[in-house]
Subunit: 109 residues, 2 copies
Amino acid sequence: MAERCCPPPPDCCDMRGMLSFYILWVLSKKPMNGQEISEELGKRRGTKPTAGTIYPALKELRKKGLIEVERKGRTTSYTLTKSGKIAMEKACRYFCSAFGEIFHEYEEK
Amino acid sequence: MAERCCPPPPDCCDMRGMLSFYILWVLSKKPMNGQEISEELGKRRGTKPTAGTIYPALKELRKKGLIEVERKGRTTSYTLTKSGKIAMEKACRYFCSAFGEIFHEYEEK
DNA sequence: ATCCTATTATAGGACATCCAATAAATCAGA
DNA sequence: TCTGATTTATTGGATGTCCTATAATAGGAT
């Protein structure tokens, strides 16, 4: 069911990483529960993180005060806090300056 | 001495990852030795990987046949193989499609 | 009440990436 | 030759990300 807008990860090298950053990124769009976050990451990165991946990461982000948690019956809604929003923007600047070159050259083709 | 074209990594979330991919990327520009690769990564990502990081990664890439090694006196020159070049381009496509959205929105500001 | 499903969550193991510390090999210069 | 600088390389430990189980919890349907 997941619309794929991304090829699967290559096997040449490890493309893991940036999970917490990416979670902050999708949460900056709107609050979501765990399943929705997984879905969003799946659409973007080509692989959908499983429960054993996503929940420990969310727990850590909460411990750092970057996201807030609100339980609503069966689901749990995660929201960026103010400091989470600031942190995300900073991380975003770093990410784009660290990897921008690759992206720019790719776009030129 | 290292020209910095990148802010230091944020402390909000872990920005590790993509090391092997980034090594393939810089080697696609020109063959380099270990120190030069470290320097190039340092300029781009804001932190320079140490020996204990870079050499195991190079060893692994060599084992996979993605890079070639030529010892020249004191230094060792690393070069992309043909299959390394192909793998790098594939990884590049994946990377850009997985993270392109973040770049695009950042560039729009 | 009882089932079924969705959702959240943890445990345990694998691996890449990171560092500091240590070492060895080579070259250049005194 | 000896000394110091450069470069390569390994070790050992920490952490984040990833999976496959496994489990707990809550809501809806019968």
